[in-house]
């Protein structure tokens, strides 16, 4: 297959970019693809921690770009699943240690080796985002059903479009069906009404996400929680498999149900 470079971005911080990057990378590797998860957040490295690989980081991608090491010296192989690698960020450098054209060159090298290059983008719309997006073909925008996150997502979608990334698809993270039922949270369809992108997945709020981060075991290694199922489904949809959207909370005729019916239409 032709390799794909996907930037996972959001604008706003703390909505789940790193968790999403880690879990999608694990799911794709489990599905048999050769995957590298790139931590593009120079100075605020975290993907290594979330993936539980922090003790095995030696070099980082800034070292590769500066020629201090070879690419395969910097790649950290995940021993829990075949074909999964992490390319860490430099922790003691700043965003301007690299520029977009160097990032394009790096991703071109990665494309020779991998089916999927998942770029975990830093929050914000400045240099860090520009670097992470530079070599990407397509975008995944992570948001939560909160107005501040959705507003920032709208901004980032505009920027991805002007950078001519395509397709750009939306992940709505930390959805709480109970709050939606009580009329206290934006529904999936509300978010889709205001943002001009297609939906690729909805991830429920799930305490096991925090547990998995605590222990450095991405959820996608075990398929027993709602969030892990949701991430696995997103990974499948990325590869072109048409997976129906999750039946969160059985949806007892709540507004959530209509949201899901609608988003199913959107996903086509």
């Amino acid at each position: 297959m032709e390799s794909r470079v996907i930037v996972v971005t959001s604008g706003k911080g703390g909505v789940g970019k790193t968790t999403t990057s880690a879990n999608l990378s694990v799911s794709l590797a489990r599905a048999g693809y050769k995957v590298v998860a790139v931590d593009a957040d120079i100075g605020l490295r975290n993907l290594d921690l979330v993936m539980g690989l922090e003790n095995r980081v030696v070099y980082n991608f800034v070292d590769v770009i500066e020629g201090s090491c070879r690419l395969n010296q910097a790649l950290v192989r995940d021993k829990r699943v075949e074909n999964l690698f992490l390319l860490p960020a430099a922790q003691t450098r700043t965003k301007d240690a690299v520029n977009p054209s160097q990032m394009v060159a790096l991703t071109e090298d990665l494309k020779k080796e991998f089916d999927f290059v998942i770029m975990d983008c830093p929050a914000g719309i400045e240099g860090g985002f520009q670097n992470a997006a530079a070599g990407a073909d397509e975008g995944l925008i992570v948001t939560t059903p909160e107005i501040s996150a959705v507003r920032d997502a709208d901004r980032i979608i505009g920027m991805l479009e002007s950078l001519q990334k395509s397709p750009n698809r939306l992940i709505i993270n930390r959805v709480r069906p109970k709050m939606i039922k009580g009329g206290d949270m934006l529904e999936v369809e509300d978010v889709l009404d205001v943002l001009a992108v297609k939906l690729i997945g909805v991830v429920p709020e799930d305490p096991s996400v925090i547990r998995s981060t605590n222990s450095g075991e991405p959820l996608a290694f075990a398929n027993d929680s709602p969030a892990s199922k949701a991430f696995e489904n997103i990974a499948s949809r990325l590869t072109g498999v048409d997976v129906p959207f999750l039946d969160l909370e059985n949806m007892n005729g709540s507004g959530f149900f209509t949201g899901f019916k609608k988003l199913f239409r959107f996903s086509r």
Binding site: G183, D184, L186, S254, G255
Partner: protein
């Protein structure tokens, strides 16, 4: 249940969130600063004033969302029409 839910959710925080979000996105996307909007308002008043006497203290003007496109909505109270002005021009 459906009706109850609708009644219950008319003033829900979800509704408020959606309305506020839609409005702020209209402004974000249009990329029009309040200063620019004010400039437009003053110029518009000038133009309309040539033809009508308007209550310039009670003009409401803002960007709004209209089925996916952005609309400039203005509510301008007219006090009287300046007919003489127009007649003069015709002569």
């Amino acid at each position: 249940m459906g009706i109850l839910k609708k009644l219950f959710s008319r003033n829900s925080s979800r509704e408020k969130a959606k309305k506020r979000l839609q409005l702020v996105l209209v402004h974000d996307r249009a990329d029009i600063s309040p200063a620019l909007l004010e400039e437009l308002r003053i110029e518009l008043i000038g133009v309309i004033n040539k033809y009508m006497e308007i209550d310039s203290d009670n003009i409401e003007m803002d960007l709004d969302r209209d089925d996916g496109s952005v609309a400039l909505v203005a509510n301008i109270p007219v006090l009287s029409i300046k007919r003489n002005q127009k007649n003069k021009k015709e002569k």
